[in-house]
Amino acid sequence: MSSNLANEPARVAEMFRKMVLIRSFEEAAGEAFHAGHVRGSVHQYIGQESIAVGVCANLREDDYLTSNHRGHGHSIAKGADPRAMMLELFGRVGGTSDGKGGSMHIADFSVGMLGANGVIADGCTMSVGAAQAIRLLGDDKIVVNFIGDGGINRGPFMEALNWAKVYELPVLFICENNQIAATTTTHLVTAGEGIAARAESFGMPATTIDGNDLFEVDRTVARVVAEIRTGGGPQLIQAMTYRLRGHFAHDEAGYRDLAEVEAALGREPIARTEAWLLENGMTADEITTLKAEADSEIIGYVEEAMNAPWPDGKLAFSDVQDVGAPSYPGADQ
């Protein structure tokens, strides 16, 4: 694993802790889904944790993040509260959206997390607008948008690349290339040399990195964020990775080549970061403890969620709009 003089073991340990927390969250979310406690769909981020964590370690709390359907990891990394997120998945009071949103609509505006998104690539166009708002308000925030390697083929994403560069907006697009979109091997439906070449055709600098290498993510994003924040214009980072689970919790991914999965497990980011930490002063015991703490933190949230009150049906009628707000129980006339 590549290293870096700036790699402070304490800092790495903290990033590692977040990665492990995401992993625990996702395992628990999957189990809760299979146990029937969580409805809808749950797209797990397992195997990609180093990307969200490495990216967000280089953001300020007031920077914005826009995400996609696979947004749990992005949210936790940006600072959203995993307890409120778990309550949301369970549809309970106290959830990030009070049960109105669910897994695909996690958001925490207090930490700049402007929302997961159920519609692929719509978050991309929203990002460039958020960046225009930043400019208009005279702030030095930046916007980070996460997009998958399947999502890059939607027109709005491509429009957004052009737009970001035309106005030289402070946007960082992170394409998490896990090589698959649902059941589709993306290179089969992606013409040309891929997203980096496309971004460059818009005049946008693009860097391809090993997304499972926390240090490479950290180092690259640190540089790129600094460039963007100081007015360097938008950039794209393609983070190569691998989706270790099915597309969503109810997908057994039978289409996956087992040898490929096996190989990917060997490049999985948590074990790699763990190995570095073991070489750099952390003990196996400390790591075991850290993981157990993460697990028990998350299990606590699951238990809390399981026992938390359901929202009152009335809540379904709030927060629709101010003008012409619906009334409960609603006139059936």
């Binding site: 809808g40 769909s41 959206s97 695909m104 649902a182 589709t184 439906v189 359901w310």
Partner: protein, 321 residues
């Protein structure tokens, strides 16, 4: 008669039509391995090849736009949009192009495509995966709009939709994918477009509905028997053209009309039916539909949106009282 699910019946219909007519093909995301969101394309790529069951990039505008071009060029594409919510990424292609090409070009063109876009609540998939925008497309000249409610109709109406020379917005209800019904496999006749089905007969009130709401309406009709109220339930099946004669005849006889749909009530297609009946027959009309809120995620919130049996029963009681 064979028992099969709504999804299996749709698969059978597509398979039959693809075997019958080499010009029929389908395009969309994850049709091959996944076989569609509910297995409604299972095995068809193996049977017909990847040129006729085309796995596409995530490019909704092009799925729909390509279907328009392919229809203009003499084939019969089925454009699978997965969710009517995602079809909102392709409205220009559907409404500005598919619906208007024949007309704008003075009859030179035909656009025999099926824009397949499931609607409705499946449970917990919330605001961006549960919408029922059928009223939009009913309001759009050039389009036919179909909303099957049973396995047999999903087979028979999909066949009609594929054979139709007009662009058809075909809206399966996601909540019905797994519902089993009897299908007569030997009878390969399509179910005609624009013809309603009578779900049950009654004399006191006509309840008009479609898609998943039909099951709820039928249960309500059962429950009303205890009140001594006999309700006739009509499944429109096709929303445009809707079977106005069937509705008017029934409503003229029962003297009361209730339209029930899962879609939002305000601005919904129930307004068309109710106002047309009121204008034509001058009888009491009423509508039930979802409140004007996005579909929420959590169970009690989603429940608060749904039109359940008790609400239908209560409304009918008021009307008949």
């Amino acid at each position: 008669m064979t028992a099969m699910t709504y999804a299996e019946a749709a698969r059978l219909a597509l398979q039959e039509e693809m075997a019958r007519d080499p010009k029929v093909w389908a395009l969309g995301e994850d049709l091959g391995y996944e076989g569609g969101m509910a297995g409604q394309y299972d095995g068809l790529q193996a049977e017909f090849g990847s040129d006729r069951i085309v796995d596409t990039p995530i490019s909704e505008s092009t799925i729909m736009g390509a279907a328009v071009g392919a229809a203009l060029a003499g084939t019969r594409p089925v454009a699978e949009m997965r969710f009517s919510d995602f079809a909102m990424c392709a409205v220009s292609e559907l409404v500005n192009q598919a619906a208007k090409a024949r007309y704008m070009f003075g009859g030179q063109a035909r656009v025999p495509l099926v824009a397949r876009m499931p609607i409705g609540i499946r449970g917990g998939i919330a605001a961006q995966h549960s919408q029922s925008p059928e009223a939009w497309y009913v309001h759009t000249p050039g389009l036919v709009v179909v909303t099957p409610s049973t396995a047999a109709d999903n087979r028979g109406l999909l066949k009609s939709a594929i054979r139709c020379d007009d662009p058809v917005v075909y809206m399966e209800h996601k909540g019905l994918w797994g519902v089993v019904g009897e299908v007569d496999e030997d009878d390969e006749e399509p179910v005609p477009l624009g013809v309603a089905a009578k779900v049950c007969s009654g004399d006191d009130i006509t309840i008009v509905s479609w898609a998943a709401q039909i099951g709820v309406a039928a249960l309500a009709a059962d429950a009303l028997v205890e009140d001594g109220i006999s309700a006739e339930v009509i499944d429109l099946r096709t929303l445009y053209p809707w079977d106005r004669d069937a509705v008017m005849n029934s409503a003229a006889r029962t003297g009361r009309l209730l339209v029930v749909h899962e879609a939002v009530r305000i601005g919904g297609f129930g307004g068309e039916i109710a106002s047309d009946v009121a204008e034509t027959l001058g009888i009491p009309v009423a509508r039930l539909g979802g409140e004007r809120i996005p579909i929420p995620f959590s169970v009690p919130l989603e429940d608060a949106y749904k039109i359940k049996v008790d609400r239908i029963v209560a409304r009918v009681r008021e009307l008949v009282a």
